[in-house]
Symmetry: C2
Subunit: 244 residues, 2 copies
DNA sequence: CGAAACGTTGAATGGTTTCAACAAGAGTGG
DNA sequence: CCACTCTTGTTGAAACCATTCAACGTTTCG
């Protein structure tokens, strides 16, 4: 029971496993090589090969893929406590790039350090793999959203998911949350045009469901929004510690 | 150098790592609990909780999510050599279901056996995590396709990806491959209506690019199709063994 | 002060869906 | 063995959701 502030990643993992002091210490140790990065400067480029991942401790990032025709698809957003590029540790080349949306703080973790930590602390390994599995489940849900939800439900679902994720690291609740994304980010993430995103947001605002404005998401009618989006947060698997 | 036929999974992993005899033996051992399943009978239901995965050794499967409104989104197809539910080993509940498309053979692997194999043979662990990373990369590419490609390019890209995957386990080449999917499967996977899939397939056939008919995909103009789809197989990471 | 980034709105266009109808083959039970 | 149904594939026409194009307002920042 330390008075020291814990990292967002630790906070997130504690929702899954109750880690002991040694495990907590090793986890914080992974944050050692912490650095700051400015807006827009990609951390990892598409096609780059690097056997390392990052732990994001402050700020927002998006991971995206650029198409040959110039359009881009944002695969996911990362908020504090999330890993960047955990998957590409094992693939020869990173299949997508990461761009900071705000100024950020991130710690670089070498693949070897991670593997080392895994063998020392199997429970920690389980927790981190849980986080990776959860990330993938989010990509899958994202796929379902783009494939099968109309624009209104898609935007609503997205704003709800983000709210749940942020709540897990103490950055949001059912009233709303701070959100530095632009309408262009939403468009690139949700497979819609920026113009249409604007119209959808207006509709959601005028019906009193949510307001997305000035870097702030405010829920007006949380349950109504859940109904519109058919939002079932089970895939986020964050209903409380699984392992004691 | 055994005359014994190797499993499709082994064949696939050998494209990534050159495994030694002990590793190969352990890998084959994971296939022990092999069983047959008939068409349509779900292996894992959405929401089910089971700490196990399957290795598919024969037949085709799809993983999908059903929406509350009844529509379904197919997340991915599994062909021989693929894992089923590797991700849900760590999550509390499976976030999607698996349905055999043909009669299949699959071996159940307990999470504990897998973890045990990982600690015994770290290189095998790396190979399996490579396969998992590759699966996730395919889901990401799938997301990009649904989000940013029009119907023609989406279908073309899908047929090309499937071809590359099957080639890796010796079930297809640049001429084409056997394919038990219906147009409804394509529709549910690609986020399009079955009617529109039919029109797209007709167009592709009439322009001589591909023929999808009677359980057979035949490439008419492979390079033309690659151009239409902007298909770059780098994300499949199967350009030859990475580890010696 | 001008440029750049972001947001906003209208009108026209277009890709895709929905609805509807029909054809062909496989499997089923009387 | 023949109706019957179910699945899959096919095609046309109308309706619709989202895009594109275009224009303009606002704020930020160098």
């Amino acid at each position: 029971m330390t008075a020291v502030e814990i990292s967002p990643l630790t906070r997130k993992l504690l929702a899954f496993v109750a880690l002991n002091d040694a495990e907590l210490a090793l986890l914080e140790q992974l944050h050692e090589r912490r650095r700051s990065f400015g807006i827009g400067a990609d951390l990892v480029h598409q096609g780059q090969s690097e056997r390392a991942a990052y732990i994001l401790s402050a700020g927002w990032v998006c991971s995206y893929k650029i198409q040959p025709d110039g359009t881009r698809q944002i695969v996911d957003f990362q908020v504090p406590g999330d890993f960047l590029g955990l998957r590409s540790v094992l693939l020869r080349t990173s299949d997508h790039a990461f761009e900071p949306i705000t100024d950020i703080q991130a710690a670089k973790v070498q693949a070897s350090d991670l593997i080392n930590a895994f063998s020392l602390m199997p429970r920690l390994a389980t927790a981190i793999l849980w986080a990776a599995s959860r990330d993938e489940a989010m990509v899958v849900e994202h796929l379902v959203g783009i494939g099968r939800r109309d624009a209104d439900a898609r935007v609503a679902h997205f704003l709800l998911e983000l709210g749940s994720r942020l709540a897990l690291v103490g950055m949001g609740d059912r009233a709303g949350y701070r959100c530095p994304l632009t309408q262009y980010h939403l468009a690139d993430a949700l497979g819609l045009s920026a113009v249409h995103i604007n119209r959808v947001l207006r509709r959601l605002r005028e019906t009193g469901l949510v307001t997305f404005r000035d870097g702030q998401v405010t829920f007006g009618d949380y349950r109504g929004l859940v109904r519109l989006a058919d939002f079932d947060p089970a895939y986020l698997d964050q209903s409380g510690p699984l392992l004691k």
